[in-house]
Amino acid sequence: MEFVNPEGLRLDGRRAMEMRQLRAQIGAVSKADGSAVFEMGNTKVIAAVYGPREVQNRSQQMSDQALVRCEYSMANFSTGDRMRKPKGDRRSTELSLVIRQTMEACILTHLMPHSQIDIFVQVLQADGGTRSACINAATLALADAGIPMRDLVTSCSAGYLNNTSLLDLNYVEDSAGGPDVTVGILPTLDKVTLLQMDAKLPMDIFENVMQLAIEGCKAVANYIREVLQENTKQLEVRRGV
């Protein structure tokens, strides 16, 4: 199938290195300590953060750092078939783990011993790149909750189809079965914290694809910073500072 036409345009009109439109909204769940909705094109994810708070299960309490928990789920209406999916299937468990590990790596957990931070992420609409959108939403929600972090974590994916590296695959491109590299970075520290790929790629091409994904992460980071700054400004206005 032709995913990139001879003019270099993808099926949805983007060029290879173009990202889908990003949208974000902070504070979507007022009950939570922090929350955010993050959209990458038609992929829409909501994240809510509770904590730091008391550890619910005493036996899990840690004396030197905070306990970070994460629950990922997918709304039944998020895909076209609206199929009821069992909770806790392998994919959700794996994704919960990935998100938890990624977020844990940037939260300054040692500042909050004996406490627990819960991150809930739910996919409202899935159109490829849910993994990245979840991480980006979680970052925003954590920031909104005012949880101390080393840096933002931002994520973006890139793939390789029709001999071209493509940034931010949508569902159609993702289901082509080609390689899909998801990268998460700490943009200020310039470090990679997450790297996943579920196919094989020659080394040189892989490096190229990964570099593209990193560029994507940086663009997401810039956008998230803007959103946070804008949010802070509004908070200032509300408080009358």
């Binding site: 032709e2 036409n5 001879p6 003019e7 345009l9 099926l11 949805d12 009109g13 983007r14 173009e18 889908r20 439109q21 094109g41 038609n42 076209g80 078939d81 159109d127 949508n170 159609v172 094989k200 790629l201 020659p202």
Partner: protein
């Protein structure tokens, strides 16, 4: 600018699902006119002069008039992406051709992505069909062009859709039909290329001279697509690709996954206008009709009774005529398994393309310049004759031409098509060759610059780097030599054999290291992979790789250092393999011998030089290996290969004769087989799921039936339970004359299908078996210069030795499977082309030389028999009664004895009997020479 596209889609399970897709509309897409002042003109491809109009074509114009569009008279065309996508969905062959046009630098075709442009994107309107929406999109784009180029040039919408044209005119767009546009160009010959409209869009002035009202309906209606899909789902219909029997065009097969068997389609009526290669939907006939149909297979065609020509004797079941004789009725009701028979009820995907052939001579020549109807006879017998209209009949009668199919309605016996181009005069060797190549889908274009750029610079020699490379063993000190047919320039294998101190032998097979020069993913590799194999015609060779590689850099010529990939065994004097090594190497061949030279050296007992001694040692080993192989059950099959001696100046054949096989041939063959087997073992061990292997399916009882019937008639008992049993009974089959055994072997060979390439992940190990060689594993490693399969195997072997990484394609089994399929297809076509070339030269040879020759009867017919002429390797009918007459029962066939007897019993001819025949070229119709065999 962001837009959402919402549409409903039916899922695999049959549910309707709403799908939402984003579309990012752009403003940076150029219009393609070089004189445009707004857009980026760096990629503009349209005509630089504003004087010629810009043509915007709709989907149907591209689909039906692609031959016309390919004519340079049609130019300055904008292909909208909406049209491009639709063409791609509806006909991939046309799509490829239009793509070629769009990227041909000498043509002014430009793709405008109207569906992604912010000003030409159209929203769905409820109640509008996709077709209407697309038509509207085309009009919007045309309008945009008109406004965008601000009257600098004329923009013309070309559509044959009446409604679309009307709406366009209303909206102020200039629109024309393709006919009126072509007429306005004033080039009458272009009109021949025009496809006649079929549907209600008819705007032609002469709607065919054949008075449609009086024509009777010959074929059943094709079922509508919706009915087919639902029928397929509830398994009433079966889907598959139709394959027409190459030797009996009235019989076709559809391989169906749903019943796991082949469905036979007998006769044109049941084929219902399907072409070879079409994807069709088939309905099974009631079971009681499965057999009766067999008897009707030829009879129901009436006037179109099949004409059998003299042709090259088949080498395998793939070449052979299917047995169309009805089997003996009574006793074999349960012995012959019934295959399901069916009829085509709909065509899911057409495989129409263009075909080469000639026009059937007409009894009455038409007046020159006027429109004449003619029947086109394709060279490919699988294709039905095609009706065409032409204004230049007298110019075309003695020409080989190319014709494309347009339509086939229920009232016509034949499909209608249109003339595309001339290839040249019938009988001209180059022209006939061209036609053969085209028919077999063989590309003989010179290699492009891009491909030649992948070659190392000439003169090439082994570099110091190669010598220092630790993966490469320096074997220059060995006495390596090659043995090939005389004059062979692309030498891809060489051998060596030395005696070890322990009395064992070290034997090496050295194969040209082609993959050192052909790297995966390069244009050179892509081209070779497409070509699949070199093609050998009688007087010319079409290479898979460019000449500098085949004849110089890779060729293991004498006295030059060359890179090789070697398999080296230690063997006992009893030819038992003790160890096997695989390594890249550097060799220096000391002699490039011909088979005759090698044989002469071995036979000349006075010679005791090292080379000759090595040859003799190898020959001794080879004989033991061969013997052991035969004991295992390998079949020594025989085929009737002929060889021409060609006049170097006129290229006419001077002499033909059977190819003589010497011990030296068998010696080289034996070691090549051994190397292939060793490599197959090695690669399969390392890559059990993605090795490319070669298998030879065990022939079924049904396939061997013609052989058994013949054998039974002459009282010979053949045991076909295993290849070993067959080999033994073939050995025992010795008749009164020396040729008898060979003849039986030839008949056995032609009952079997050919070996095929496959991907090891697709089958289970018992299916890997190579029946003919009685080997559980086999592959091709020894001819990478002329076969792409060997190139793949070289890469696999190198990867298993950790010399190279395994290229990416091997991680994708579907891709590897499709590569194997392409290789089988190319291989088959290359063989068909070689055979056609030999047939052509046989005809040329006999044109001046009527000959009497000894022949053998191989098949009995009601009005004669088929003979095989061993000396020339050809086969053809000999008629006892003049053609066309039914013979008034003068002769009758005795099935049991395989005899044709005169009613009064005075004369009889039985199968395998030797007869004297006369061979002569006759021309029953002008420009249609054919070889005729008659009894003396």
């Amino acid at each position: 600018m962001l837009q959402s596209k919402v549409f409903s889609k039916r899922t695999r399970g049959g549910k309707v699902q709403k799908t939402v897709r984003e579309v990012y509309l752009r403003d940076d897409l150029p219009c393609g006119a070089p004189f445009c002042k707004v857009c980026d003109t760096s990629k503009a491809r349209l005509s630089p002069s504003a004087s010629s109009p810009i043509l915007i074509v709709d989907t149907n114009v591209v689909l039906s008039q692609i031959d016309l569009l390919e004519n340079p008279a049609m130019d300055n065309v904008v292909v909208l992406s909406v049209v491009r996508d639709e063409v791609k969905n509806r006909n991939i062959a046309v799509f490829k051709r239009i793509e070629t046009l769009c990227y041909n630098s000498t043509r002014n075709f430009f793709v405008f992505y109207n569906t992604l442009h912010k000003d030409t994107f159209v929203h769905d309107v409820s109640g509008e069909s996709p077709n209407d929406r697309n038509d509207r999109a085309i009009r919007v784009a045309t309008q945009w062009y008109q406004n965008h180029l601000g009257g600098q040039t004329r923009v013309l919408l070309i559509t044959n859709d009446r409604e679309n044209k009307r709406k366009a005119t209303e909206e102020g767009i200039s629109a024309e039909t393709i006919e009126s546009y072509v007429k306005s160009l004033g080039q009458p010959n272009l009109l021949d290329l025009l496809v006649k409209p079929v549907s209600e869009d008819v705007e032609m002035e002469d709607a065919d001279a054949l008075r449609p009202s009086k024509r009777k309906v010959l074929y059943a209606e094709h079922k509508p697509m919706s009915e087919i899909t639902s029928g397929l789902r509830c398994k009433i219909y079966h889907q598959g690709k139709l394959r027409v029997n190459r030797y009996n065009p009235f019989e076709a097969y559809v391989g169906s996954e749903s019943i796991g068997d082949e469905i036979i389609i007998y006769g044109r009526t049941n084929m219902n206008r399907a072409f070879d290669g079409d994807v069709v939907a088939v309905e099974l006939l009631p079971q009681d009709q499965w057999r009766e149909e067999k008897f009707l297979s030829i009879a129901d065609e009436g006037e179109e009774e099949e004409e059998e020509d003299v042709h090259l004797a088949p080498n395998s079941a793939d070449d052979a005529l299917r047995n169309t004789n009805p089997p003996n009725s009574a006793d074999d009701k349960n012995s012959v398994p019934c295959r399901p028979a069916g009829c085509v009820i709909g065509i899911i995907k057409r495989n129409w393309h263009s075909y080469s052939g000639s026009l059937e001579p007409l009894p009455m020549p038409a007046a020159s310049g006027s429109i004449a109807h003619a029947l086109f006879v394709p060279k490919d017998r699988k294709i039905s004759k095609i009706r065409i209209q032409t204004r230049q009949l007298e110019n075309l009668l003695d020409q080989i031409i190319v014709v494309a199919v347009d339509s086939w309605d229920r009232q016509s016996r034949y499909p209608s098509g249109h003339y595309v181009r001339k290839i040249g005069e019938i009988g001209d060797r180059n022209v006939e060759n061209q036609a053969v190549l085209m028919e077999n889908d063989i590309c003989d274009e010179p290699f492009s610059r891009q491909i030649l750029n992948c070659l190392p610079p000439l003169p090439w020699s082994v570099s110091a780097e190669d010598l220092a490379n630790p993966i490469r063993m320096d074997l220059r000190h060995l006495l390596v030599f090659s043995v090939d047919p005389p004059g062979c320039k692309d030498i891809d294998d060489a051998l060596h054999c030395t005696t070890l101190p322990n009395g064992n032998f070290e034997v090496g097979v050295h194969i040209a290291d082609v993959t050192n020069f052909v790297h995966p993913g390069t244009p050179l590799d892509d081209e070779a992979s497409q070509r699949g194999t070199s093609v050998y015609l009688v007087e010319r060779r079409i290479d898979m790789l460019p000449k500098p590689l085949t004849e110089d850099i890779c060729s293991l010529r004498a006295d030059v250092e060359r890179l090789a990939f070697s398999v080296i065994w230690e063997m006992t004097p009893q030819a038992e393999i003790i160890s096997t090594r695989y390594t890249k190497s550097i060799i220096k061949s000391c002699a490039a011998l011909s088979y005759v030279e090698a044989q002469a050296r071995m036979d000349d007992s006075r010679l005791v030089d090292p080379l000759t001694t090595d040859l003799r040692d190898m020959n001794t080993l080879a004989k033991i290996m061969r013997q052991r192989r035969i004991e295992r059950g390998a079949l020594t099959l025989a085929s009737a290969e002929v060889k021409f001696q060609i006049d170097t100046e006129t290229h006419d054949p001077l002499d033909i004769g059977m190819y003589q096989i010497r011990e030296a041939n068998q010696m080289v063959e034996e070691f090549m087989l051994a190397a292939n087997v060793s490599v197959a073992e090695k690669i399969l061990k390392h890559f059990p799921l993605c090795s490319l292997l070669r298998r030879h399916p065990t022939p079924t009882k049904e396939m061997l039936e013609p052989l058994l019937r013949t054998a039974a008639a002459i009282g010979l008992n053949l045991d076909v339970t295993s290849s070993k049993a067959l080999a033994d009974s073939l050995d025992r089959a010795v008749g009164d004359d020396p040729y008898f055994n060979k003849l039986i072997r030839i008949l056995a060979t032609r009952c079997m299908t050919q070996a095929v390439y496959f991907c090891s992940g697709d089958l289970s190990p018992p299916e890997f078996h190579h029946y003919g060689l009685a080997s559980p594993l086999y592959t091709h490693f020894t001819s990478p210069i002329r076969r792409y399969a060997d190139v793949i195997v070289h890469r696999l072997l190198a990867a298993s030795l950790e010399i190279n990484k395994l290229p990416q394609i091997f991680q994708d089994r579907t891709q590897l499977t499709s590569i194997a399929e392409n290789l089988n297809y190319r291989h088959r076509n290359a063989q068909m082309a070689s055979r056609a070339s030999v047939e052509l030269h046989t005809l040329i040879y006999f044109r001046k030389r009527p000959t009497d020759e000894e022949a053998r009867i191989v098949k009995i017919r009601s009005n004669g028999f088929i003979v095989f002429v061993p000396k020339y390797g050809i086969e053809g009918p000999v008629y006892l009664t003049p053609r066309g007459e039914k013979g008034d029962g003068e002769w009758f066939v005795d099935e049991q004895q395989q005899q044709v007897k005169k009613m009064d019993g005075s004369v009889s001819y039985s199968v395998l009997q030797s007869v004297k025949i006369h061979m002569e070229v006759v021309e029953p119709q002008p420009n249609r020479p054919k070889l005729e065999l008659s009894l003396i």
